[in-house]
Symmetry: C2
Subunit: 126 residues, 2 copies
């Protein structure tokens, strides 16, 4: 998990976004235990209260289940819901991007080219 304290997005929100992405990516099984509040805070070099806040909000969303004294546990949606959510989040991003490109006068064909470039360049990484 990567945290940027200076990018304007609240740290507790970055934690939530990161874990949600991990769930969508299939990196958790249902019932998996997440790091204890104090441990994750140590690892990320942030205050335990900030992690506690992220966990509390994720509990409210149903993404985490808490066992006081025992730990916090991931609640993974059913596979069919996961599949839908994966494409929905990407499609939402794409809609915003297409709107922005249209605003800037970049033609649809050119946007497709730029996407191809972006996908090509990713091959050199990892």
């Amino acid at each position: 998990m990567k945290i940027d304290p200076d990018n304007g997005i609240p740290i507790y929100q970055q934690i939530i976004d990161g874990m949600h992405l991990s769930v969508l990516a299939g990196r958790y099984r249902d019932g998996d235990r997440v790091l204890p509040v104090r441990e994750l805070a140590m690892e990320l070099r942030i205050n335990p209260n900030t992690v506690a806040k992220a966990y509390r909000l994720m509990q409210d969303e149903g993404l985490l289940v808490s066992r006081p004294g025992g730990g916090n546990f991931i609640a993974v949606p059913a596979e069919e819901a996961l599949r839908r959510e994966r494409e929905e989040t990407i499609s939402a991003d794409l809609a915003k991007l297409a709107a922005k490109a249209r605003t800037l006068g970049i033609p649809p064909e050119r946007l497709r080219e730029l996407l191809d470039n972006a996908q090509q360049e990713r091959r050199g990484e990892s």
Copy 2:
């Protein structure tokens, strides 16, 4: 200009982003006068201090030139720089999106399909 007071992004930053996008979109000519601080604040239903802060930061970036008592004026970059910046901002967004899609296990071909869908759906709007 659209402002969302509740989306987490500071209002003064939304103003900056909106004006920067307008410049890239070619909606301003060099030297065009922008709305006075108090007028824009009225129009957006926000505090004049917030607009003043946005203008001040844009002055620091060289995007605005101030004439105290006279108004604030847009400084548009040269056309060649505009062309480059347009594609750079979109390519940066595309790189993040491609990385996210890859994380979610969405294949490149499927991502292109979803982009085509997003572009198709925009035709029904405007």
